[in-house]
């Protein structure tokens, strides 16, 4: 029989038990099943949706083990931050190198991830535009983005890797003299950036958020990844892709997070997954979903899908992310200065 004392203690125990039950320990590998946590940026979700089952089957055949994937897709910067703060991802597939370097600096990634095939880059894309069906505003290249009364969508570089690629693509193209009417130097590039930023109407958190808003009828042009446009078209969207003559090559890194694979005991599977993703088979799947392959053979095979860009430059043009991020997106970064100028506000001191 329950005494009074027992009755009094039941409630607190119940609460504690419930709370304890809801706390689960981290992922672990048991006999037949292993869990892999993938933290990615927003754009490649469709690609991974196809790739993961293929890998699961292959792994099962090879080792008899079932791999369960827990996927997370959010803006690259936000994702990188999450992993930094304790999101125990085994693999990170992010939009730009800087977001991986951040984890390296924090000691979460200790191996040389760049020694993997293609310098650790699992996919590439380019900065491009999405325009409405029929291209009513006749956007052919960067220069048209500066026209008055145009509404442009581009995400916010604070959270979105895609946004940073967009801005640098814009800036680089102008600097290299591919934007008519603007001098081929910093001054010209900044003038052009000012003109474009005047036209930006919505700044979303991520590249995916941005294109989805575009699909809702907002804006005339969206500056985005070529890959986003292609995936959207595959999903039935009627917008068109415009490739500028000069644009930025977007290299997407992938890496194993040493701290967590060791903690979860999933290094072997994770390594295998990465090897799979670098294989020709997986690269072709990436190509199916709008991503250009860093693998020259696959790139060759899909050449008709992906036109050559006349002037393709990389982050090297900006001396790497180490230089670029603070210069353009730091507290007094060029981007924010120009943004201030749009409102007539002085950002720098």
């Amino acid at each position: 029989m329950l005494t009074n004392l027992h009755k009094k203690l039941i409630l607190p125990f119940l609460v504690i038990a419930l709370l304890a039950a809801s706390c689960s320990s981290g992922a672990s590998s048991q006999g037949g099943e292993v869990k892999l946590v993938l933290a990615a940026y927003t754009t490649p979700r469709e690609a991974y949706r196809e790739l993961i089952p293929i890998f699961q089957e292959q792994w099962k055949e090879k080792t008899g083990q079932t791999v369960v994937f827990e996927e997370s897709y959010q803006a690259s910067g936000a994702q990188s931050r999450a992993v930094l703060e304790g999101f125990e991802a085994d693999i990170v597939a992010l939009s730009l190198e800087a977001d991986v370097i951040r984890l390296e600096n924090a000691g979460l990634i200790t191996h040389d991830w760049r020694s993997k095939p293609f310098g650790g880059m699992v996919s590439t894309s380019v900065v491009a535009f999405a325009v409405r069906q029929g291209n009513p505003k006749n956007i052919q290249d960067w220069a048209e983005l500066a026209q008055p009364d145009l509404q442009i969508l581009t995400p916010n570089p604070k959270t979105s890797g895609g946004a940073m690629w967009n801005i640098l693509g814009l800036y680089g193209a102008a600097q290299r003299g591919y934007v008519e009417g603007y001098s081929a130097d910093d001054a010209g590039a900044q003038e052009f950036l000012l003109a474009v930023l005047r036209n930006v109407t919505v700044m979303d958190k991520s590249a995916r958020d941005s294109i989805v808003n575009y699909e809702k009828g907002i804006g005339d042009v969206a500056i985005t990844y070529e890959n986003e446009v292609l995936v959207g078209q595959q999903a039935g969207q009627t917008y068109e892709l415009v490739l500028p003559t000069s644009t930025m090559q977007i290299d997407n890194p992938i890496a194993i997070v040493d701290t967590y694979v060791d903690k979860h005991g999933t290094r072997e599977v994770a390594d295998a997954f990465l090897d799979f993703l670098f294989s020709a088979e997986a690269q072709q799947v990436f190509a199916k979903y709008g991503l250009r392959s860093p693998d020259p053979a696959v790139a060759q095979a899909t050449a008709d899908q992906y036109p050559l860009i006349e002037d393709l430059f990389t982050i090297a043009h900006f001396s790497g992310w180490g230089e670029a991020t603070p210069r353009y997106f730091g507290e007094n970064g060029i981007f924010f200065q120009i943004l201030g100028q749009v409102q007539g506000i002085q950002i720098t001191e």
Binding site: L5, K8, A75, G77, A78, R81, N156, K158, T159, V200, T201, V202, M203, D204, K205, K216, G217, I218, E331, F336, L339, G340, V342, Q343, I345, Q346, I347
Partner: protein
């Protein structure tokens, strides 16, 4: 009533409901609040002050941060004005008139409490987005997009805080003694005069409380605004969205600094609301006696 008893410690408690004694109960309550409330609030304060007060102020007065705070405050203020007027009117209509659909209307008042804020944002975009019914019409007629601008923020806030003024005024209005009104009517006072001079004054406190609650709720709003506002720094980015951006991009200090300001404002507002609540309660008790 109990105010008499409340003052006398002898009649305060009969025995404690749990076998842990009076201080046991008190310490449970206090530790619960400490863990749930005080420590989280303090940790932000500590992080914001990490590099000194001067640096904190600098972060708060950065143009983008400062603008975000201003935008938050003025959009909330505009919303409060509209909400106060419409909320009071709605309460008045619900209490004083009979009309078809009144019960339905009364139930609808609570709807915003049940809708997750994210959904509110989605609904507004679905209705007012440039491709949709009303939005497209607005765009064609006036070249005006009601969302993705501060007007969208105000609309979202109006939706979310709608119940507060209404539900604050309704019960007081219900209890209002109508003899004064009737007397005034007999003496020839018009409807408006009666409303302004006789009905409104006793409602002042509940209206103010409702307005305060609306304002407090509005300044921190995130879920709907992040969907519907456009979020362009220096144009349509509120403080909450700004903090989110800073948290997600390494500027911890900036996030903490602005958060501290927001928490400070929240503190002042809720203290004021609490004070008002106590004041109105003691006022009504005096009337009864």
């Amino acid at each position: 009533m109990n105010t008499l008893l409340a003052g006398n410690p002898e009649t305060k408690t009969t025995g404690t409901p749990l076998p842990w004694g009076r201080w046991g109960l008190r310490s449970v309550a206090i530790s619960y609040l400490l863990v749930m409330l005080v420590i989280p609030l303090l940790v932000i304060l500590q992080d914001g002050m990490r590099e000194g007060l001067a640096e904190l102020w600098r972060q708060v007065t950065l143009p983008i941060a400062w603008h975000a705070l201003k935008l938050t405050l003025w959009t909330s203020a505009v919303m409060v004005v509209i909400n106060t007027i419409m909320g009071t009117l709605t309460a008045f209509v619900l209490v004083r008139y009979e009309f078809p659909g009144k019960t339905v209307l009364n139930a609808i008042i609570d709807l915003p409490l049940a809708i997750p804020t994210l959904v509110t944002g989605v609904m507004l975009v679905v209705l007012f987005g440039p491709q949709e019914a009303v939005g497209a019409w607005l765009k064609d007629q006036f070249d005006f997009s009601i969302i993705f601008a501060p007007s969208g923020i105000i609309m979202a806030l109006l939706f979310i805080t709608f119940p507060f003024v209404v539900r604050s005024v309704q019960p007081v209005l219900l209890e209002l003694d109508r003899t004064q009104e009737n007397a005034a009517a007999t003496l020839g006072a018009g409807g408006w005069t009666i409303f302004w001079r006789i009905i409104l004054p006793p409602l002042a406190l509940p209206i103010l409380t409702g307005a305060l609650l609306s304002f407090a709720r509005a300044i921190g709003e995130f879920g709907s605004i992040v969907i519907v506002a456009g979020n362009i720094p220096l144009v349509s980015q509120t403080a909450a969205v700004y903090v989110f951006g800073e948290v997600e991009s390494e500027n911890r200090l900036g996030a903490s600094a602005v958060s501290i300001v927001m928490v400070g404002i929240a503190f002042i507002l809720m203290m004021a609301a609490n004070y008002l609540r106590k004041w109105s309660r003691s006022g009504s008790e005096k009337e009864v006696e």
